[in-house]
């Protein structure tokens, strides 16, 4: 009898738990399958990794099958336009979505005009710049000074991408201090991280864009190794890095990282003393004509996911920082961020 009672309680408990977990699904404006297209072709990069984390939680919360497709930015925009009206296809990407448009890369629409901005989800604080371990440039200031004094400094980034904005900020800093000398900073247009690393190994670049996650092991190699590198600048805000676990990543502790972020390592953005920084932000985008009820439904689901608190540890375990804002707030935040970077670009072009 006891075991029967226990079984009954377990069954009731399970039924209650299931009904609670699927509560959102009962009056859902959307059901079935959800496809998340991401702005990267890679399943090994941070976009896929962040998308996979939020997709797993979203699938559970909404009781939907959620699939992440690594289609790339332009194909993602197209999928959103053609298939996104019902809300069954949504896009997940980072700041590159609007930076590509600011830099005039073909295929990059003005996301604020062409799409509906969804919630921000997370930050990858690992956006970094590196030099060979035996480089004469010990700090970002050394680079600014060298370029200002006529030395050609070659920086390997992907044109029109998130890596390009750091280069533009450097150009702007050189121009502010040594007008006309910004031409001494040469952009070496490279695609993948592999190509950027190779450019450094070959001596074809003096500085490369990379990431804490992807390049940390190279920084631990002995200086006489051709592959050895050194961090010189992390573009995330110091306060963002402060949110990381104290032990950092690999053998690079949080305190070490803070030496490469503002205010210790800083790149001036304006004459008013503003400093440039760039937190690589991940967020959702929807079709422009999506039903507002679906937008609210996703917002509600994600608010609950973040309130439950489990997703935070998933992000931190993968060296990301949770950063949720519901859609209306996210749009304002991203528009401001875009305007900030647009100012840097127009300052360089003046």
């Amino acid at each position: 009898m006891k075991s029967l009672k226990a079984g009954l309680y377990i069954a009731l408990g399970t039924a209650f738990a299931l009904s609670a977990s699927t509560a959102m699904a009962s009056d859902a404006p959307i059901s079935g399958n959800l496809r998340i297209v991401i702005g990267s072709n890679s399943t090994g990069g941070d976009t896929y990794q962040n998308a996979a984390i939020i997709a797993a939680h979203l699938g559970e919360k909404l009781d939907m099958n959620v699939r992440v497709d690594a289609v790339g930015a332009v194909a993602g925009f197209r999928a959103l336009k053609q298939q996104g009206k019902t809300g069954a296809t949504i896009m997940f990407n980072h700041d590159q979505s609007y930076l590509g448009n600011l830099y005039g890369v073909k295929g990059y629409d003005d996301i604020f005009a062409e799409y509906k901005i969804g919630p921000t989800i997370s930050i990858n604080p690992g956006n970094a710049y590196l030099v060979p371990k035996d480089s004469p440039y010990k700090t970002v200031d050394d680079i600014i000074e060298a370029a200002g004094k006529g030395e050609r400094v070659r920086v390997s980034v992907e044109r029109g991408s998130a890596s390009n904005i750091g280069f533009s900020a450097l150009e702007n800093a050189v121009k502010m201090k040594y007008p006309g000398a910004e031409k001494n900073l040469a952009l070496i247009n490279t695609g993948s991280q592999s190509d950027k690393n190779q450019a450094l190994f070959d001596g074809q670049a003096d500085v490369i864009h990379g990431s804490i996650q992807g390049n940390e092991q190279f920084t631990r190699l002995p200086a006489d190794d051709q592959k050895a590198m050194r961090f010189i600048w992390i573009t995330a805000k110091g306060e963002t890095i402060e949110q990381m676990p104290e032990e950092g990543l690999g053998e690079t502790t949080r305190d070490m990282m803070l030496q490469w972020t503002d205010p210790v390592t800083s790149v001036p953005q304006s004459a008013d003393g503003d400093l440039f920084n760039f937190d690589k932000m991940f967020y959702f985008m929807y079709n422009k004509d999506i039903d507002p009820k679906i937008v609210a439904y996703f917002d509600e689901a994600m608010t609950e996911i973040f309130e439950e608190g489990k997703i935070q540890s998933d992000f931190k375990r993968s060296f990301f920082i949770p950063s949720f804002r519901a859609s209306p707030e996210a749009e304002k935040f991203l528009v401001n961020k875009k305007d900030d970077y647009a100012e840097i670009l127009s300052a360089i072009q003046k």
Partner: protein, 497 residues
């Protein structure tokens, strides 16, 4: 050997199912090892890293190996890296040696896979140091070297080179992607077609269109009678398989496996280049290559040992530099990142247990692949006994499904498939040579990227000759390959005269 304690029944079952599923993906025209990994990657969220890697590596080995089945039996490369298997495999099948060709292919695949695994296990960190000596220039020269195969594979040198150059041209249609280091500009299309052709023509629809749909259209012109394919392709009428097929091929086997491993460890060169290079080397340097292209086992040996040699090779830069060696290992890196594990130059030393488990997984996967394929061949080979009027619609259906799925549901890829099927059929009638065309198409975009990047980086054409001793050595190989092609072309002309 403490890591052996981690081997459990679920680990072994995952490898078995991974290999079996990979073979199915590889054997279906339009489905590839890369696609198999992409589809199955999300399934591994719930596994631990060792089980996840065991499953994905098994898919990789199975997927690369399965491509030989349609290449030999249907003349359709199951994956781009099995294109050279069609050159001799299909003629062997038509001569009643289908089962023999398949078994030669499977044994060669096993050898190539184990050879590259041994190299990976013993020399990975050392080889990654060599791999980084290959800059844009050396990579361009390797691709250029692979392109010289066009000269030795064509019936008429002039038409063959024209076809190859046309292939290169069509591979450049669409955006010069910033992700590849390009400028984002769209080339070779009118604005009206930009929406459809933004990303250009995808390789798989072009490949299976030319080889699959084109051949079916050509057969349809003859009229499909109610006969079984088996009536023409009697599987047992030719020679039976025995190990004597490998007599005199030891050098070929080792050289091709080495080429596969070597090309695999150079990120961005591509798996198709491996089998093309191995095939060319066998054609150019073997004592008797007169039967190659007409059903010579040595062609199947070269192609299959090279493309399986790629599996270990492509893991070298992945595990020693954190850089995937090919498109399939680019998916594999996702398994590491999803588990929060970073791969880089210190990965092997800091993750000895995972490293050993990966090597063990690859070893078991190769053995399972051999057992599954070798003993299933007599049943697999019966596909050619299915009547054409049943077989062809099934092939078309698989091709269309594969083309649609390759880029996650782009309808234009299906139109590409049909367009290139028609192109292959009409081109064949006009005398266009399909093999040089497809080799040009496969290698064209990589050649462009490395050529342009070399010039952007160094600013002078002379750098191609002066960059390094490796570059000079590659020029020597290119020169020898071209000279041999001209010589053999003249010799075959004088024989026919």
């Amino acid at each position: 050997m403490e890591f052996l304690a981690l081997v459990d029944i679920s680990y072994l079952l995952l490898i078995f199912f991974g290999v079996a599923l990979g073979i199915v993906f590889g054997a279906i025209p339009g489905m590839t090892a890369t696609m198999a990994l992409a589809v199955c990657l999300p399934l591994t969220y719930s596994f631990d890293l060792n089980h996840s890697l065991a499953f994905l590596l098994a898919l990789y080995v199975g997927g690369i190996s399965g491509g030989l089945v349609p290449a030999i039996l249907l003349n359709i490369p199951g994956t781009p890296s099995s294109i050279c298997t069609t050159f001799d495999g299909y003629p062997m099948a038509r001569n009643g040696e289908g089962e023999r060709a398949l078994k030669i292919g499977v044994v060669s695949s096993l050898f190539g896979g184990l050879f590259s695994l041994a190299i990976l296990y013993l020399f990975a960190p050392l080889l990654s140091d060599i791999a980084i000596k290959f800059s844009y220039i050396e990579k361009f020269l390797i691709i250029f070297f692979a392109l010289t195969v066009i000269a030795s594979l064509c019936q008429s040198m002039l038409v063959g080179i024209f076809s190859g150059v046309l292939g290169i041209l069509l591979s450049l249609v669409g955006v010069y992607d910033t992700v590849k280091g390009g400028n984002g500009d769209i080339r070779l299309i009118t604005p009206a077609l930009e929406d459809m052709l933004y990303s250009g023509f995808s390789l798989l629809p072009v490949l299976i269109g030319l080889f699959g749909v084109g051949a079916i259209l050509a057969d349809a012109e003859q009229g499909v009678k109610e006969e079984t394919e088996g009536a023409k392709l009697d599987l047992l009428s030719g020679r039976k398989f025995d190990l004597s097929a490998f007599r005199g091929s030891a050098v070929n086997l080792v050289r091709s496996s080495f080429i596969g491993t070597f090309v695999g460890m150079l990120p961005g060169v591509g798996g198709s280049a491996a089998s093309v290079l191995a095939y060319t080397q066998e054609k150019n340097f073997s004592r008797d290559s007169s039967m190659m292209g007409k059903g010579a086992p040595q062609g199947v040996i070269a192609s299959e040992s090279a493309n399986n040699g790629l599996t270990g090779g492509a893991l070298i830069p992945l595990l020693s530099l954190g850089i995937p060696g090919d498109s399939t290992t680019a998916i594999l890196i996702g398994a590491f990142t999803l588990q929060g594990v970073q791969v880089g130059p210190l990965f092997i030393g800091e993750n000895v247990e995972t490293w050993n488990m990966m090597v063990l997984s690859m070893f078991i996967a190769n053995i399972v692949m051999f057992v599954v394929m070798f003993f299933a061949i007599k049943y697999i080979a019966k596909v050619v006994t299915v009547p054409k009027y049943l077989l062809y619609p099934i092939i078309i259906m698989m091709c269309v499904s594969g083309a649609y799925a390759i880029n996650y549901g782009i309808m234009f890829d299906v139109w590409s498939l049909l367009l290139f099927g028609l192109f292959g059929y009409i081109g064949g009638k006009l005398g266009l040579e399909i093999t040089p065309f497809i080799i040009g198409f496969i290698l064209g975009s990589s050649a462009e990227i490395y050529f342009v990047k070399s010039l952007e980086s160094f600013g002078t054409m002379t750098i191609f000759f002066t960059k390094s001793p490796i570059a000079l050595f590659l020029w020597l190989l290119i020169g020898m390959s071209v000279a041999f092609s001209i010589y053999s072309n003249k010799r075959s002309k004088s024989k026919t005269a």
